[in-house]
Each structure stands twice: as C-alpha cells, then as structure tokens.
C-alpha cells in the first residue's frame, strides 16, 4: 500500500545522537503486527529503506532508527511537517498467538529492539524482556512501563544471551521472540535448540523492492531460499540457516 507520511516528531534517543525516534502520520489506517516493516523512500538514495514499525497508534507509526548511512542520516534530519513516502505494512510479523498463554522471553539486541516494542501490547500472560545494548539503552523505560521485570545489559549483545541462558536453569520459557544482529540470533538459535524452546526470530537482509519481486533479500532456510521481505522478516527460530 502506498502511503503519504507526515513527520509528527523526530527526536534523538541516545546521547551520541545515533538513534532517533520518528513518528509519522500516515494518510490511511491499516492493521499491523509487530515485526512488520515499511519501506521509506529517501530522496537522496535510489532504493527505499526498510524500517520496522515499532509502534502504532491510530494513523501514527513510530520508527526507531539507528543512523548507519546516508538513508538513515536523511531520515534523522527530517523535521515536523516534512513529507515522506512510505509503502507498507510489509512482510510477516511475529505470530503473537504462539506465545499467548505461555511464558515468553523477548530478546533484543541493539536497534533490534525496534520490532519488539510493539510486542509489549500483545497481552502475553507472562513475558519478560531481555535487552542488550552496546552502550546506551533505547526506550528502556517504555519497555519497563509494561514489563517492569525487563532486564537490560549495557555491554555486549552476548551478555544478554548469557543472562537468558543462565535464567533457563531456574525458569521455564515456552516461547521466545527475538531480533538483533545476526551473530546474536545465531547464538540464540543454538540455545533454543539445545533447550528445545520454540520461538520466532526477525532477520535482516539487504532489500530492493520490499514486496517480493526482486529476490534480492533471500535468506537460506531449512526449506530452501526464502524472501525476507515476504516470507519474513520473522521466521521460525530453527528455520533460518545463518551463514558462518
């Protein structure tokens, strides 16, 4: 769906000004599942940039974005009232029914917390967030507002995985939702397999079209190549085959 967006607010979330929260009012309502994304068109770049819908209230979506290049830099400089073109919602989000009546762990690394923010509204019976950041937390209060037990680590992404693994000695999780750097997801996959915990992971790939037409974004899975933009970005936790 082609959407016209209007910037409602744009503010940095970190003291290094590398992560910002962008709120965009869209010209249409739509249903959205956490884990789904939009493609944002940046006039200084050829291809659109895929960004997770972190949250949504009415017509207003929230994006959490880390500046890593020219596209995200452009977005960081948009001002209230600026127009942005967007298509979406795209992809397959998290299946929240899997975790509904279970004990759920939600694990995020770095800017990978973005698609997990929406999960705090999923009304899981019992859920706990494990969030890891390299230095500074992102919207940690927001997570804690709903899930006061949220645990954050301001060190390496792996530390949060160690904490999660440690917790498995005393706690039982029935389902895991996660997003983060590939290395982290790969390690998590091993932990989940070893402990026979089912889950869903949101993965990232370079994209072009975002709608399934170009086959740029494929990842390896146990069932052959799949398109991250169409069959993903959320996959069953044991389905994705990460490269070495």
């Amino acid at each position: 769906m082609e959407l016209k967006g209007l910037v409602k607010s744009n503010e940095f979330l970190t003291s290094q000004r590398d992560v910002f929260q962008l709120r965009i009012e869209l010209n249409r309502e739509f249903e959205f599942k956490p884990g789904q994304f939009i493609n944002v068109y940046c006039p200084n770049k050829v291809l659109p940039r895929p960004i997770s819908i972190a949250d949504k209230e009415g017509n207003i979506i929230t994006l959490l974005v880390r500046i890593v290049g020219e596209g995200t830099d452009f977005l960081s400089k948009t001002k209230i009232g600026d127009r942005v073109k967007v298509i979406g919602p795209l992809g397959k989000g998290f299946n929240t029914s899997h975790g509904m009546d279970k004990k759920v762990a939600i694990i995020g690394g770095g800017i990978g917390v973005a698609p997990l923010l929406g999960l705090r509204k999923a009304n899981f019976k019992d859920a706990k967030y494990y969030l890891g950041f390299n230095s500074e937390g992102i919207l940690v209060e927001e997570f804690k507002k709903v899930y006061p037990t949220t645990i954050t680590y301001l060190t390496e992404d792996t530390t949060v995985l160690e904490a999660f693994e440690e917790s498995l000695k005393t706690e039982v999780y029935n389902f895991v939702y996660a997003c983060g750097p590939e290395g982290m997801l790969k390690k998590l996959q091993d932990i989940l397999q070893k402990n026979k915990i089912p889950g869903e992971l949101s993965v990232e790939k370079k994209m072009a079209c975002g709608v399934g037409g170009c086959l740029i974004c494929t990842c390896e899975t146990t069932k052959g190549k799949k398109r991250v933009c169409k069959e993903g970005p959320v996959f069953d936790s044991q389905e994705v085959l990460f490269s070495e």
Binding site: E2, V46, L47, C209, G212, G213, C214, L215, I216
Partner: protein, 309 residues
C-alpha cells in the same frame, strides 16, 4: 482515442510499457498498487529449464544512481510457470512476455517448444544474464552464437521472439544485426552492465557473487546510446530499458528508437513508476499536440520535433 495504443510484434498493446524481467516477479507483487493489466505487457522473471535457487550471499548493493544485483536467475522453472503462473496471468487479461535463459542451445529450443503451446504472447531470449556460470552473458557476446540461438528458436515457434542483449560488448550493433538476420522479431536493450562494490570496512567484495549487474538511472546514458545506435542498423522493433524512472526517461528511449520501454529498477524506486510513466506520456503527447506515441519513435534521428510540435 488512446494515444499510447501500440501494435508491435504482431500484438496489440494498450500502451508500449512493460517491465524489466526479474524486477516484477510473475506479476503478483505489485497488485496491491495497481492492476498489472494496466501495463502494455508483463515481462516475467527470467526462467530456466529446471528450478534454480540462484546465488548465495548478499545479492544486492546500492551504488551511486543505481544498484548491483546477483540474484542468479532464481526461478521455479519453466514447467511451474506454465502450469501455475501463466493461466492466472492470462485469465486476468495480461499480455505476457516470457523471458527464458537456457544453459545451452538445446535448452533454449526445448523451452521455446514448451512455450509454443502455451498462452505466452512473446518469447524473450535472455542471452545476457551476467549472474550465472553457464550460458547467459557468454552467449550474448558472440554475434554468431546469438544468431544461431535465435534461428534455432525461431524454427520451433511461431510466437514472436525478441532477443535481449548485453551491453558488455565492444560492438552491440553487429550482435543486434546477427539477431535480426536470423529471424529475431525484436530486440531488448539493455540488460545490466557488469560491476562490483567493495565494503571498505572489511576489505571484501559486497556481493556474494563478487560481480553483479548494474541497473538503474546510472546506466541510462549507456542504454540510450545503444538503442540509438542499434536503431540505425536494424528494422525490427526495440524494447528499450536501462534506468527509466519517469516519463522523460521513457521519452528519451522512444526518441532514440525504442518502440516499447521497460521499467526495471524503477519499480523499486517507486512501485507506481510504470503507471506514472503512462500518465506522463499521455500528458506529454497532449501538451505537444502529438497524436500517437508511435510518431515519436526514432525522432532523434530525424531532426527532432518540428516547430509546430
């Protein structure tokens, strides 16, 4: 009256706009934006005899004004296309151009035979894919080979056959002429330029396949030059593509000699791109008081618009 109405390859098209093979899947992905029947024709993803998984590793990279891809002809194979995709596309009322890539002459012939009995409207021979080990670009760099494949395919099909050429050659004219002399009904110009990109933070090539095909606005001047050059030397119609993202780009290609144009990377830059081009062309013809799009084909060879226009 529809000013964009075009008769070409013996087919009646509501407009001379198609898409670049491989940028539009099998027509299903852009349906939520507009009905593909609004296009003159849909050119589907390049197909091979057997299903292919394509290349591993990173398959795309943005470059200044363009992008690189090394998808490597991932496709479900021609049988699945004919059984699962084609009937639906035809039922919806689409004109369908099938892009095929054989790994040898026999495969091209076999695929053409399969398509001969299908509802496909046109066969586009992909003699120019830069991202596969066998065949592909190697075929397209030899006029002799291009001629031979064209002739063999023409022998087994009554459908119009269009040959898609690679720009990565010293002399595209001689290859285009070889295709024409061996019975090609048309030419598609151009496939992607070969290119690469390196991640300077790691020191390694970005693409899994090291090299990839460069497409998008960056290559427009090269594509346009080849269309212009080839138009001078052949009589068969040309489908022009390479960096077309708006109606002014499309007009350049018509004026250089293209009878149809294709939008490839433009679909990624704006999903509505082909439709916006359609509307833009209509607007242009109205403003300039030109009756039909076909009047401007090759105009740049004839001294341009006359004062009246």
């Amino acid at each position: 009256m529809n000013k964009l109405h075009t008769e070409v390859f013996g087919i009646t098209l509501k407009n001379p706009i198609t898409v670049g093979s491989g940028t539009y899947g099998f027509g299903e992905n852009y349906k939520e934006f507009y009905s593909p029947t609004e296009l003159g024709a849909i050119t589907v993803k390049g197909m091979t005899m057997l299903p292919r998984e394509g290349n591993s590793g990173t398959r795309g990279a943005e470059t200044p004004g363009g992008m690189l891809n090394c998808v490597g002809l991932q496709n479900p194979g021609i049988d699945v296309f004919i059984k699962d995709y084609l009937p639906k596309l035809k039922n919806e009322g689409n004109i369908v151009f099938a892009n095929i890539a054989g790994k040898d002459i026999e495969e091209f012939v076999e695929m053409a035979i399969k398509l001969e009995n299908s509802q496909v409207d046109l066969i586009e021979l992909n003699l120019s894919c830069p991202n596969v080990k066998e065949g592909g670009i190697a075929f397209g760099t030899s006029g002799e080979m291009v001629g031979l494949i064209t002739r063999k395919v023409k022998e087994v099909t009554g459908k119009p056959v269009v040959v898609k050429l690679t720009p990565n050659v010293t002399d595209i004219v001689s290859i285009a002429v070889a295709a024409e002399q061996n019975g090609a009904d048309g030419l598609t110009l151009i496939n992607t330029l070969l290119g690469m990109a390196i991640d300077v933070d790691t020191g390694n090539p970005i693409l899994g396949n090291v090299f990839g095909g460069l497409s998008g606005p960056a290559i427009k001047p090269v594509a346009l030059k080849m269309v212009y050059q080839v138009y001078k030397h052949v009589k068969i119609p040309i489908i022009g593509m390479g960096g077309i993202v708006n109606e002014r780009d499309a007009l350049e290609f018509f004026m250089a000699g293209a009878s149809m144009i294709g939008v490839g990377t433009g679909n990624f830059i704006d999903p509505m791109c082909p439709l916006k081009i359609k509307e833009g062309l209509e607007r242009y013809l109205d403003i300039k008081g030109i009756g039909k799009i076909t009047e401007i084909v090759g105009l740049a060879h004839r001294g341009g618009l006359t004062d009246g226009k």
